[in-house]
Symmetry: C2
Subunit: 471 residues, 2 copies
Amino acid sequence: MTPKPADADFIARLTKDLPAGTLRPADPRYLEEPRGKWTGQPTYVALPRSTAEVSTIVAACHAAHVPVMPYAGGTGLVGGQISQSGPAPLILSLERMTAIRAVYPAENVLVAEAGAILTDVQAAADEANRLFPLSLASEGSARIGGLLGTNAGGVNVLRYGNARDLCLGLEAVLPDGQIWNGLKRLRKDNTGYDLRNLLIGSEGTLGVITAATLKLSPRPARTATALMVVEGPQSAVDLLSHARDIAGEAVSAFELIDGTGLRFLAATLPDIRLPFADAPNWVVLIELGVSAQLDPNAMLETLFETGMEAGLVSDGLIAQSQAQRDEFWSVREHIPEANKRVGAISSQDISVPISLVPAFIEEGFKRMAEFGPMRINSFGHLGDGNLHFNIFAPEGQTKEDYTDQSEAIRLALHDLVHEMDGSISAEHGIGRLKVKDLEIYGDPVKLAAMRQIKQALDPHGIMNPGAVLRA
Amino acid sequence: MTPKPADADFIARLTKDLPAGTLRPADPRYLEEPRGKWTGQPTYVALPRSTAEVSTIVAACHAAHVPVMPYAGGTGLVGGQISQSGPAPLILSLERMTAIRAVYPAENVLVAEAGAILTDVQAAADEANRLFPLSLASEGSARIGGLLGTNAGGVNVLRYGNARDLCLGLEAVLPDGQIWNGLKRLRKDNTGYDLRNLLIGSEGTLGVITAATLKLSPRPARTATALMVVEGPQSAVDLLSHARDIAGEAVSAFELIDGTGLRFLAATLPDIRLPFADAPNWVVLIELGVSAQLDPNAMLETLFETGMEAGLVSDGLIAQSQAQRDEFWSVREHIPEANKRVGAISSQDISVPISLVPAFIEEGFKRMAEFGPMRINSFGHLGDGNLHFNIFAPEGQTKEDYTDQSEAIRLALHDLVHEMDGSISAEHGIGRLKVKDLEIYGDPVKLAAMRQIKQALDPHGIMNPGAVLRA
């Protein structure tokens, strides 16, 4: 039996099993990709209010062989939530399931439904005097289900880990519509295979996450933030080593900022205040979070002095107020928007072993030079070995001039990542954008195992077909 | 085709494909369980020297439908490494694959083969001025492959996580004999399903781990250790909250010690020096590890004073030397040996949400009272909500007097764990000992998914059959 689209007939039948208003034609907003790269095919959206309704919907899709695409905040950057071809999937949006079901401050645990927006989860943790450390640019619209479905990263991974490291348990609807209740709030539980981590990062292809038990942390009593001008990527990596010697695990963010990015900001977002008069070539943003007994500003001063003495640092600013901290972060966080305005030919989200980051940047620049005097904005989560390596047309040209070279550029960079035993998707996932590259660069034995697992759990291939694995 | 035993014919054929001395009849030591509970059936052992040889062995087993049982340190407590029935499996011991393949201090990464003994990995990290924080009683003989295969826990989980949290990548031989090279040393890698975490904790039923990329940590510059006498489990939980308020993430161990355990020590291991003259009813062992700027002893003093004021603590000792620290830990670490000498009727390895630990102990005592005036030693990793809840015959009786009640006792306690949404195996795994209990208490939807995954990856059912899932 071949897959069938979520057509009017199917929707009419499913409507009878659900409360009024649960199913409707999908508004354009469900079909748009955040960077405007593609548009999804017209279809329907389901807006369940409960896990039981999610189960009803998925079971019906399973029985009728109709594809279903879980949808959270719609902020994904690899097309995991945009279906352009094949039988039209029913979009299953979790946006009505936003409850914070419980907070257990003494246990450092919070239980949230999959539709909860990240900033709302952060706020609920904050109210309990705890920290939910997941933080990224789209946090005002990204939802927990999507963040876990894609194993999101962000700026605090260095200290607190990826989304999967912040999850203790899941409730999910599996591809046959059955509800797995795995909402444990335990730190240790060795009762069988790790279904939780299998679903996390599977991008909606193995089931629908409906709720999660999340791990909270104590809030650091004192936080300090600095920008330091470094000579280059190797100096930045060396400075990170010094930062860890001084502050240990208290280094919560260590972000690399490229002078190209600062110039893009100046050109496209003039309202963003830039901390240095002339854009330096390389800057790092460092944040420390420590307990009340320690002085993080003094630690940053020590780091600055150590860095100066070692010839790693040539200038620096330590934020003197929350407003200034916000200003520093605003620079970092607006770089993707500036990139979008300039218009990248190709945007990579890669990681390599951290000691190889400088070599990657150097060799990446060389390989790009073969395409022309490209502008490169190479920024990101240096502490995790995760770079966003974005390629722009030479001054005076546009990305349209390089449309036919965009794939060659991407593959040249992914070749390099592969040579360095890195990852072609550090934090954004595979979605539909990188399916081909995963086939090229992924370990074939792992890929075969992935296909076997997909076939076993979703024999009709209804869960987000075409994402991660070719449909 | 039904499974076939690893008999002399099969071994004779396989011998031709392997270097001399790789296959031999299994010595008794491979067939013994650490607590002497069962003996494995006679069979052969394979002692490969390389991943390629592991691949040859597993591929041959796959082709011939002969079961294969990965074997690491042999220290597991749930019979995952002991086969008593069914076609005799070939024991595949990793003991010759002990290399530390590489250490990357700047990246906090170490690559070890599966046969490396935990203390050797700790020492290699230490030589690089780093910490590999996994630590447990059997660390002198437990091997990395087994520690990952069972997702081992131990005394530092509170701060550093379980074995799975300390692993960045794996090399493994899958059930068809193919080698998955997943030895990445990346902090972020979202390229497909999380095969690493699926293998970790699968107890050798989905493949053989042959090597692992392990995560190191900075070594805490200063460590301090204390024993504090608390009124009961609730006081211990409250004291943990205070400890975290004072020391944050620096609390690296928080162990509960039961007066019954101290009395068992005095009776069976008189050489172990007990720090308090009369065994208190409840003691906690607390360890802090901090950076050079902080004074962990002062923190413990503050905790002691806070605890006294709050009526949680009545007495305490802060270790004044490394020798005294070792003495405190020796008390904690010899409790399992004392238990073994006294002879438990039933030993549980359970976890519940940490705020429910006091209620679990109280209600557990009540339910045990229905069986008689049982002696209970309830100790363990309180900070993780993980208790080893061991039941002993009343004074003057032996475990043999309760043989016929041992199952009822176990089920009564597991019922209670289940009511509290806890885990019937916090850190030891399922092995063969808890297969039935997993069927009783496990989520049926998860169990069905586990069987589908097992069938998909190991269609002939050759990998450690009968462990985790009924063969």
